[in-house]
Every structure is written in C-alpha cells, then in structure tokens.
C-alpha cells in the first residue's frame, strides 16, 4: 500500500515538474525576446550615432553580451566577417543564428525572424539600415506583447496540466 502511495506521489510530482519546466520555457523565451530587443536597440544606436561597421558592432556586442548563447552568436558573426572568407553576410548571419540559438527556448519562428533581418543588413544606405532594424524591432514587439500578457496564464496552465496528467495516470494505473 505504502509503495503504491509513494509511486503515485512520485508520478504526480514528476508530471507537475514537467509542466513547470514547460512553463519556465515560456518565461525564458519571453526573456530572450526582450534581450534580443535590447541588443538590437544597441546595434541601432551604434549604427545611427557611431556610424560603426557591422564587424565592429558585432564584436562590441559579443564583448557586452553576458549570456553564453548570444555572446557566442555575436562573436562568431564578427570573427567570420573579419575573416572575409567569401561568404555573404546573409549566410554568415543565418548560420550563426541556427548554430548558436537553435538550442535555446527561442522558437523556430523567432529564429526565422532573426535570420531574415540578416538578409537586409550591410549593403543599404544608413536610413534603410535603420528602417530595417526598426521593422525588426516592431515585429519583435508583436511577439513579445501577446506573450507577455499570456505568459502567467500559460505557466499556470502548464503546471496544472502537469499535475492533472500525473493524477490521471495514477488513476489509470490504480
């Protein structure tokens, strides 16, 4: 009997934990989107006021960025740009996005959005460059806003579903 109770408790605890894990993923994605927004505001400032070139901007971002994935991402872009290996900016950017950020909580749609901004970088005049960044920031905001409003609700839902799934499993097993 005690063994059954202990088993049921463990199942419910594990499934609740899984629910909470998915819930924290939602919060983490939101946090990453916000970081991305902040990073692009800094890139915008560097281009707008410092007229800085992309390899320099990327290097500076790589140095500033504390989070391992983003720091590594910017450093890789900067390093490959400086190497001038015969690959267009778009490809360098896209490869770095998928290599460094693929295992984060950012979703496929976020990575596609981030990849697409790379296709517009580099060759346009400054005004167009800034408008491209503004457009990306607006698209990012469109992702952040509803996610922020629903994040709490979604996290609770994940936790509850985890708990209920565990309870249902216990009932079936009994």
């Amino acid at each position: 009997m005690y063994v059954h109770i202990l088993g049921a408790f463990l199942i419910v605890a594990a499934s609740t934990g899984i629910g909470m894990y998915f819930g924290s993923g939602i919060q983490d994605r939101l946090e990453k989107l916000r970081m991305l927004k902040q990073q692009f505001l800094m890139i915008r400032g560097d281009i707008s006021y410092g007229n800085t070139s992309l390899p320099e901007v990327m290097e500076a971002m790589g140095e500033k960025e504390d989070t391992a994935e983003f720091g590594e991402f910017y450093r890789e872009v900067s390093k490959r740009l400086r190497a001038r290996e015969g690959v267009p900016f778009r490809e360098i950017w896209e490869a770095a996005v998928w290599r460094n950020l693929n295992k984060t909580t950012l979703r496929r749609q976020d990575l596609e959005l981030l990849s697409s901004v790379g296709a517009q970088f580099g060759y346009l005049d400054r005004e167009m460059q800034l408008k491209t960044i503004d457009f990306f920031l607006a698209r990012l905001e469109e992702e952040i806003m509803p996610e922020a409003q629903k994040a709490g609700e979604k996290m609770r839902l994940c936790k509850t579903l985890g708990l209920l799934a565990g309870a249902a499993l216990v009932v079936v097993m009994l």
Binding site: N51, E85, Y123, D125, Q129
Partner: protein, 321 residues
Amino acid sequence: MIQNMEKRDEILQIFSVRLRHVLEEIPMDFEKLQEIRLRVNGPLLVIYGNREYFVTEDGRLSADKAGAYPVSRNEMQETMEYIGNYSLYAFEDEIRQGFITIQGGHRVGLAGKAVIEAAHVKNIKHISFLNIRLSHQVKGCADKVIPYITTSEGICHTLIISPPRCGKTTLLRDIIRQLSDGDSTRNGVTVGVVDERSEIGACYLGVPQNDLGIRTDILDCCPKADGMLMLVRSMSPAVIAVDEIGQREDVDAIEYVINCGCRLMATVHGSCIDDVKLKPVLGRLVKEKIFERYVILNNRGNAGNVTEIYDDRGTLLYKAV
C-alpha cells in the same frame, strides 16, 4: 620585407576570393604597385612601375589583352562588400564623393549609376568600376624640397601642384614628417594635419599607420575647412597641412590660418602655377601671393618627382635636370 608582406595582405583582403587568388599568384613588389582597376566584364588591370599591365588568370602580368582575367558582376559585388567591411551604409558620405579610403590609407575610386536628389549626388548604385590606388610612404622623398621651403626666417607657406598620380600626397606626407621630427640643423615643429580622406596618416582607430613625425597631431576624417579652424583653436600648431584644397570654404579657412601666424602646407591638382591661377577660388590666393613656395611635380620617375620650385614672385628656385 615584412612591411611589404603586410601591405600585400592589407590590399588582397579587400578582393573577392577568386580575385585574391589571381592577384596572390603575381610575383610583384607591392611597393611598385600603384593601381588596380576593376571593371565589370572588363579585364583586370594593374599599374605597376608606371606601366599598365593586364593580369591573366594564372597570375601573370601581360601587355597583351588576350588572356586577361575578366571581372564578373558577382566578383565586383563581393569586392564591394569587403571594401565596405560589409557595411556600405557607413561609407555613405564617401561614396557620395566617389571614393572610399580603406585601412592603410589606400583610396578606392568608385563609378556606377549616380542617384541624384535635389540636383546633388545622393549615392552611387550598381557600382561597376573600381580604381584602387595604393598609398605608399616614401621616406626621404621630400629631401630635395625641404631646403627650399625652410628659410632662416622660418617655414614658407607652400603649395604643391601636381596632376593626379604624381605623388603629391606622398610628398606632403614626407614634408610633414621631416618638419615635425626636425634634424640636426632645424628644430622640429608642431604640425597639425587635417586628413579629410585618411590618406595622409592612414589612421586606424585614431592611430596613424604612416609615420608623420613625433610632433604631429591629426584630425582624421574631418572636413578641411572645419578641421583647420579646430586645430588652430585647440592644438596651437606651427604648421597646418592639408591635402587637395579648392573649395570656397577651404580658402576662407586658409586665410584664417595664415592670419593666425600658422604656416600652411597644401596640395592642389594642376600642372603649373597658371593652372591654379585659373581656378575660380584658389586663383585669388595665388594672385595675392599668399603662398611663398610652389612645388611642381610630374610622374616621370618615382612618386613625388619634383620638376620645379618657384617663389611667390614666380622666380624659379629649382629645376630638375
């Protein structure tokens, strides 16, 4: 030798990967390389030791057009990406003027389709023609000139007159270095350089890559007229040096500089004093005898080859034999 290798790498890295391989194969002394010309669907050309050569696919210099390496549109685009450091937006002002100065002070001339707005060139698109002019520092090329532009009373206001590709910037650079460093017969003086196109000092992250002397202050990428006034007010130079003067605002700034007691070293395009006299704005300065020395260059022999030196009254002081 090491400097030559550095210069070689510095130049080659701006080309597309294929062009880089072709140019790498050429057994040449980069100190003698003056220009590299690229035209979409046109042959790859170099000016080497004052002579024009076609470059073949296997990296040979040839006087014959047959077998010359043709430059494709993709190679031009890739080269432009590298020249602009993947950031052509950062060179908007330079592109509007038709050139970009790259690391090392080398000037890349551009041509393509001009975008006009309100009767002014706003940008150049479809860039299809490039002329990469290599900057060379020739230490000692001003040795002949220095005795004529320095007198017992001090340094003379000097104008270097030269057609393109004759080494006026190279000569100006060495004059700056020698005036700044001084020697056993002459004390060095503080020189302020307004390097609008980064060609004189070839500054990288604010530090000059060329030797301009120990008493030289450089205002990099600054418009000449503004820069001259800023230097006079802030750095108290004894000599101010500028390259390629000619705009109305340059002339106003020159008058200000001269009236402040600074000596002026400047260059201008032309082949003789009369050419400069005919220039609408600058001509007035010549007629008013503002400049005390005129150094005339030609492209026979080495860069900075001095043909004649005149004083303010037009008296010939030196003539090359």
